[in-house]
């Protein structure tokens, strides 16, 4: 049998090599066994008929659900002979929501549709739906989304089979976003949080009063609608509808719903998880979880999966939100924890009581009463000179005041890149202050012509919009230092910051007495902030001229050091050995001139980390920098990178979150946070963080790079490749992005694309320097270990900064305990002294 099979197979293959019309002759000539000949002939005939037989996996045919489940309806479609579909709005787990025009009443409504395949899981779906629309209609409250009516739609021409019938509900059309969208964008400020609590609790009370429980209260069901007369109108949606779909759970004979949750376990009360009786206090529990998330940014026990999170709420005591947000007001803490009592009878029994407990005699309780009082945003000073060339001066003065105030301990001063996002949009400083969650804002105007310098400032209380202090300076340009000192001094006095005499001395220490040098320094920073290769060179030129005039100007030396270091990171075609020694030299000079200069310590730390691969020394420098200047966002960011390099991921994230708090809109800090989350294995959070960053900064390459990496780590290779491709486009094929892209190609099985990229980079590297790490990454992806190790060796020789992440970057994990890798690790982390002397 086996023998025959093998013979038939050989014959079949040989015959296939022949032209079709000669196969029969070939068989006759080469096989004497007639039954074998017939067998092969038959197989050849089948082969000719095969077509696509078995070429598509049934799973692939099942394929992309969202494709096959694309919107059910398109704009213009007529539904139930009454509604015209205007646009698709959203897709949920159960169905889809459209904006529709009611042709009878001539108004726009939301149409919520349940997909027929979902409807078939629930027996009597229609009846249940009807009953629940009935219930929902009983709840009338301005903060509850109004439900109008239920409709059935069958496509004309099709049978009225129930499976083909669409059931949909018409509801009030809301414009805005959900709280879930809002939370994804960043912290919720106290005003917003209180608005949500007060309006949601009103909605819940109204529903409870008529005997309707929500049962699935979650940020995705809370709408922030911009149509409120005074601020945001908060609207709770999906009242009662959750119940309709949830009820089958009690019926244990139903195999679909048995032991499953159709609500969202992430926001469910313990009694709901345990399938016990629900009361108004169950909705209060969900509200408590939402409050927890609004004030801390996370949910308690936010673990890998929603079910795990939910389970831990059953078994473990809820940790105080103050463990996450230490500055949270105690009243808020108490209220949240009371909502989250495991025993429903120990919670607030009505939602209104939650709100009541948050109000004191003097009005609502703020959630960060102490810490936030000491917080300020210096908004970009406006250049009123009518001369765009003077932008550097207004920007520079702003930055100098930020820098001075940043040295005050316990003071939260919003960083440069965050406040500068508001440049040119300063109409409503109070509102900006609210968005940044600071107690006060400083606005200023600068007018300069020749030697004449006019500066006007105004310090505004964000809480009530009143002016705390204002001043108009009309002086000579040479007085710029005194004016700046005076502004900083007034702010610290007006904000009642008690500074020790040592702190005061330190605060007002001037970096240079020379107005020209200062001006050049400001120009240098102006260009440094632009972060392009050309601007780095221009910035370096200005810094150099500043120190030429004032050779004791430590801050300008530190500016030079940062220019070289950052340029080395962003421009992988310049060998580190060319830029970094200059960085080292200028940072040392800055330190020698002023050992108390935070910036100089931070500059030193990042060189220790990226050039000497010496995280231990770097850590000391960063800690010193942060002690000297607690609000120095970049020092926190670099320290976070340093901790990640040492694989202390938790501490790394903590440090980066401080940086983010100080500089919430910085593209770099936000991207690096995403990257370090990914290094630490928190891929889901990394993806979320990178996407948030991309919402603020469209197509920012570093966020795309780490987004790709996180997808790759989750095994989502298609998404990974796409993100890296976008990153490469955004960064104009910066070799770093090509390395990431090549690695992801290889992992996605696109080996030829990966090889092409590798060859491209190889050719480039033969012509001029390019960071060998990127070559190594692609080679690793392709399992070409020999060549990967050769590239890594070259990267050690070239002292490439990324090498410090050898133990953190998940792409190197596959090298594990390979002897060659261990040797490289020894060379990288072995003896910094030797490297330095080399």
């Amino acid at each position: 049998m086996q023998h025959n099979w093998d013979n038939a197979k050989s014959l079949f293959e040989a015959a296939l090599q022949q032209p079709a019309d000669q196969r029969l002759a070939f068989l006759n000539a080469s096989c004497s066994d007639s039954s074998m000949r017939e067998e092969v002939q038959r197989l050849l005939a089948y082969h000719a008929e095969l077509g696509n037989f078995l070429t598509t996996s049934p799973l692939q045919r099942g394929k992309q659900i969202s494709e096959s489940r694309g919107p059910l309806k398109s704009p213009g479609d007529l539904l139930a002979r009454r509604f015209r579909v205007v646009q698709f709005l959203a897709r949920g787990g159960m169905g889809e929501v459209y904006e529709g025009e009611d042709l009878e009443l001539h108004e726009h409504v939301a149409l919520k549709m349940v997909r027929s395949e979902i409807a078939t899981w629930y027996p009597n779906c229609l009846q249940r739906f009807k009953r629940e629309v009935h219930l929902a209609k009983r709840v009338t409250h301005p903060n509850v989304c109004r439900v109008f009516d239920l409709f059935r739609h069958s496509d004309p021409g099709k049978s009225a089979d129930q499976d083909e019938e669409l059931i949909f509900v018409s509801m009030e059309l809301l414009r805005g976003e959900t709280l879930s969208d809002r939370l994804r964008r960043g912290p919720v400020n106290p005003g917003e949080a209180l608005a949500v609590v007060s309006q949601v609790s009103g909605a819940l009370d109204a529903a409870h009063a008529v005997g309707v429980l929500h049962r699935d209260l979650k940020p995705g069901n809370i709408f922030l609608s911009a149509d409120g007369a005074r601020g945001t109108r908060v609207v709770v949606t999906d009242f009662g509808l959750a119940l309709a779909l949830d009820e089958g759970r009690a019926d244990s004979s139903n195999p679909v719903t048995q032991g499953e949750f159709l609500g969202t376990p992430a926001y469910m009360s313990p009694e709901q998880l345990l399938n016990q009786e629900l009361t108004a206090a169950s909705d209060v529990y969900s509200l408590g979880l939402i409050m927890y998330q609004m004030v801390t940014g996370v949910r308690p026990f936010e673990d890998e999966t929603p079910n795990q999170t939910a389970t831990r709420r059953l078994t473990d005591k809820i940790p105080s939100p103050r463990t996450v947000a230490p500055d949270l007001d105690k009243v808020w803490e108490g209220v949240i924890l009371k909502c989250l009592e495991r025993d429903p009878t120990r919670r607030f029994q009505a939602a209104g009581q939650v709100l009541g407990a948050l109000r004191s005699d003097s009005g609502p309780v703020r959630f960060f009463p102490k810490a936030r009082r000491n917080s300020i945003a210096i908004l970009p000073f406006v250049n009123t000179s009518g001369n765009p060339d003077m932008e550097y001066l207004s920007d520079g003065i702003t930055e100098t005041i930020i820098s001075t105030l940043s040295r005050i301990p316990k003071m939260r001063v919003m960083a440069h890149s965050t406040v500068f996002r508001f440049k040119g949009r300063l109409d409503d400083p109070q509102n900006i202050g609210r968005q940044l969650d600071v107690a006060s804002v400083l606005v200023g105007r600068v007018f300069n012509r020749g030697n004449m310098l006019k500066i006007g400032v105004e310090l505004v209380d964000v809480g009530n919009g009143r002016q705390i202090w204002g001043e108009q300076y009309n002086r000579n340009f040479g007085d710029v230092f005194e004016i700046q000192d005076d502004i900083a001094k007034e702010i610290s006095t007006k904000l009642e910051l008690k500074l020790s005499s040592e702190e005061k001395k330190h605060l007002y220490k001037r970096q240079t007495q020379n107005a020209d040098a200062y001006q050049l320094y400001l120009k240098g920073r102006f260009f440094w902030n632009k972060r392009t290769e050309h601007d780095f060179r221009t910035g370096i030129d200005f810094f150099s001229r500043a120190v030429a005039i004032d050779p004791a100007y430590a801050l300008a030396y530190s500016g030079l050091a940062d220019s070289y270091t950052t340029q080395s990171f962003l421009c992988p075609h310049i060998p580190p050995r060319e830029l970094m020694p200059q960085a080292r030299q200028t940072a040392s000079k800055a330190l020698a001139l002023d050992s108390g200069l935070a910036e100089a310590h931070a500059s030193t730390g990042i060189i220790d980390l990226r050039y000497d691969w010496d995280p231990i020394s770097a850590e000391k420098s960063f800690q010193r920098a942060i002690t000297l200047k607690p609000s120095h966002a970049i020092a926190h960011q670099w320290y976070g990178e340093c901790l990640a390099a040492m694989t202390h991921f938790d501490r790394s994230i903590t440090e980066l979150k401080i940086a983010q708090d100080l500089d919430p809109l910085s593209p770099i800090i936000n991207s690096v946070l995403g990257g370090m989350l990914c290094f630490g294995g928190q891929y889901d959070h990394a993806i979320e963080q990178c996407q948030c960053t991309l919402e603020m900064h469209k197509e920012f390459w570093l966020a795309l790079y780490f987004l790709g990496l996180a997808h790759e780590c989750r095994g989502e290779f298609d998404e990974a490749v796409l993100a890296f491709q976008r990153s490469a486009v955004a960064a104009q094929k910066n070799p770093m992005t090509l390395g990431g892209l090549g690695h992801s190609y290889a992992r996605a099985g696109k080996r030829s694309e990966a090889s092409n990229l590798l060859n491209e980079l190889r050719t480039l590297s033969e012509r001029s320097y390019t960071s060998p790490v990127n070559l190594a990454l692609i080679a690793l992806g392709l399992d070409q270990y020999e060549s990967a190790f050769a590239d890594l060796d070259r990267a050690v020789e070239a002292r490439v900064g990324w090498m410090v992440f050898l133990q953190a970057d998940p792409r190197f994990k596959c090298l594990g305990s390979d002897e060659r890798f261990v040797k490289i690790l020894e060379r990288v982390f072995g003896s910094p002294e030797q490297r330095r002397s080399a």
Binding site: L54, E117, F261
Partner: protein, 193 residues
């Protein structure tokens, strides 16, 4: 979670040595995770995602293993086992569908079935499955090739990598196995239970 990860690695290792208990256990773990994932996908609003069943099986695996299996040996196992898992899921659900079709208890379709079995031909799956059992007795390698290609959705090149043979060999075996299976189906070796 770490416990499970450790177990998976061990199971993959044991499976590589032909331990069928290990295969059973691994399958149970992956299938369980897969159902959980599928339900989550259905429940949550993940409209930015396109859901591909193959990707879902891989995701289930990765969730269990922790990181993508990078070393060569494990990656082959990974694809091989994924294909086996998918085959079993498809067969399992095709069987149920056919039972329902023949007037068995009218059991509602579960969310994971909607995701995993959005195909229309349970008979084909059952027939291929049964013929493959016979093919495995005659030509083990050909049956594995069909399993990886048809159930696992792997390309010729990937199949060759998993089996450690050349793509050319895969292509030749694939041609022959397909013709043979086609004949079996055409000549009435059709699933009938």
């Amino acid at each position: 979670m770490d416990g499970v990860r450790g177990e998976i690695t061990l199971l993959l290792h044991r499976m590589g040595k032909g331990d069928s208990d290990a295969e059973e256990r691994l399958f149970a773990l992956v299938y369980c995770e897969l159902r959980r994932l599928a339900r989550n996908y259905m429940r949550h609003e993940r409209n930015e995602h396109t859901l591909q069943p193959t990707a879902l099986v891989h995701e289930a695996f990765l969730k269990l293993i922790g990181t993508p299996p990078i070393n060569w040996q494990n990656r082959s196992h990974f694809f091989a086992v994924s294909a086996q898992v998918m085959r079993r899921i498809l067969v399992d659900q095709a069987r149920r569908r056919l039972r329902k079709k023949r007037g068995g208890k009218n059991r509602p379709i579960s969310p994971e079935e909607v995701i995993l079995c959005n195909y229309d031909d349970p008979e084909l799956v059952m027939s291929v499955h049964e013929c493959l059992l016979r093919l495995a007795e005659i030509d083990e390698r050909q049956s594995r090739i069909v399993e990886l290609r048809f159930f696992g959705g792997l390309s010729i090149e990937a199949t060759a990598e998993v089996l450690g043979i050349s793509p050319k060999t895969v292509q030749r075996d694939w041609n022959y196995a397909r013709a043979w299976l086609y004949g079996q189906l055409k000549d009435g070796h059709v699933y009938a239970a």
